[in-house]
Amino acid sequence: MIKCENLYIKQGAFSLSDINFQINKGDYIVLMGKTGCGKTTILESICGLRKIQSGEIWLNGIEISNLMPAQREIGYVPQDGALFKNMTVAQNIGFALKIRKWEKHKINDRVHELTDVLNISYLLNREAHDLSGGEKQRVALARALSFYPKVLCLDEPLSALDDSTKSDMYKLLIKLKSNLDITVLHVSHSKEDAIKLANKVLLLTQGELIELNPTEL
């Protein structure tokens, strides 16, 4: 469960204040709003990539507001995937496990398990900079899931994809949602994303968060 209480985030002239919301375990939440309204800012604050001025962020009953990103155990997929260009696909997916000093064969097993689920086994030895948009997002997803995070934060992962690839990604995310016991916070400006994926929508408008049912959009 994620709980944000009275968050105040300031970034230059832009600020968000009094942000309160709660996401229950297993929820798939789509955080919506217009471009520049602060959706990504909230997501990055939860991941620990952006400092909050005041307020509290709780994850499964533990306050994580002041923890380093590495200590939060949150999987993060940015808009462009941000794959490590100096590594192959397999090295990208196994990176978090290598940092955690897993044994090599266990890393290999986990990498193969994820690439099977995400249908990207054929990419394992490819260079990360040599992939299509959809392939990059699936590899980024596998990398974020590799270390069994409690929460998955997705920052507009589908916005740069063509319709056919997007349709495949919907199926994949729905499959992950039902197979994995994971809480997802997905930032998007697309109603389609919310309708297809979310069980709850948070709409950020003029600095205020409104909770909606996807059918109300």
Binding site: Y76, P78, F84
Partner: protein
Amino acid sequence: MPFYVVMGVIASTYIILILAMIVADLSFTTPNHIVKALQSKEIQYAIKLSLITCTITMFLSLLVAIPLGYFMARFDFKFKKFIDAVLDIPIVLPPLVIGLSLLILFQTAPGRFIEDHVRITYTVYSVIIAQFMVACAFAVRTMYVTFVQINNRQEQVALTLGCNQRQSFFYILLPQAKNGILTAASLAWARALGEFGPILIFSGATRMRTEVLPTTVFLEMSVGNIEAAVAVSLIMIFSGFAVLMVVRLFGDKKTAM
């Protein structure tokens, strides 16, 4: 006249001028002059000292340029523009002024304190410091541009995957900056090889002591031995060019981004 022809003529003028200078040098000397120059004990010493000091300067420049370029590229802080301008001072200052300033620096109380323990001025150490002062500025500029061009989103993702700042720097950023590091190293080495003004003032031009290749050219010219001066100049041109070519050929195998 077609656009590309006009552009080509303008662009090629500069390249032709550079090549013309080298051809002129070549026409002024013979293989015998070069062999004779290479057999001279003084010139052999100057070549050895140049290679050693340039290599040390290159490593020192990288040691400073990598963290400095990283901070300038990744962080916003007070007085950043001021520091940015300070970093360009060695590039815009006349080399003689750098030499003079270094000489004065080692006449101040802290400078004299260092001199009391380790003799710097008019020694090989002063050659390295004089080369470093200029070469490092070029290395810093190169590393700054390199780090700016690498999207910091990858480092952020690495942090969420379990890395600390040090791990994200060494595992993610630095391997991708490989080409930039090679370029900075070659630039620093080549700049150090050509440095003369600061060395003349700060280290002197003493044969078999602080004599590097540009000093040799100066000393041979001053005694009217133009053939030897040109021969040494050609050695410098080809060694500098060889380093730059090797780095480019090696570095072009993969793109920095």
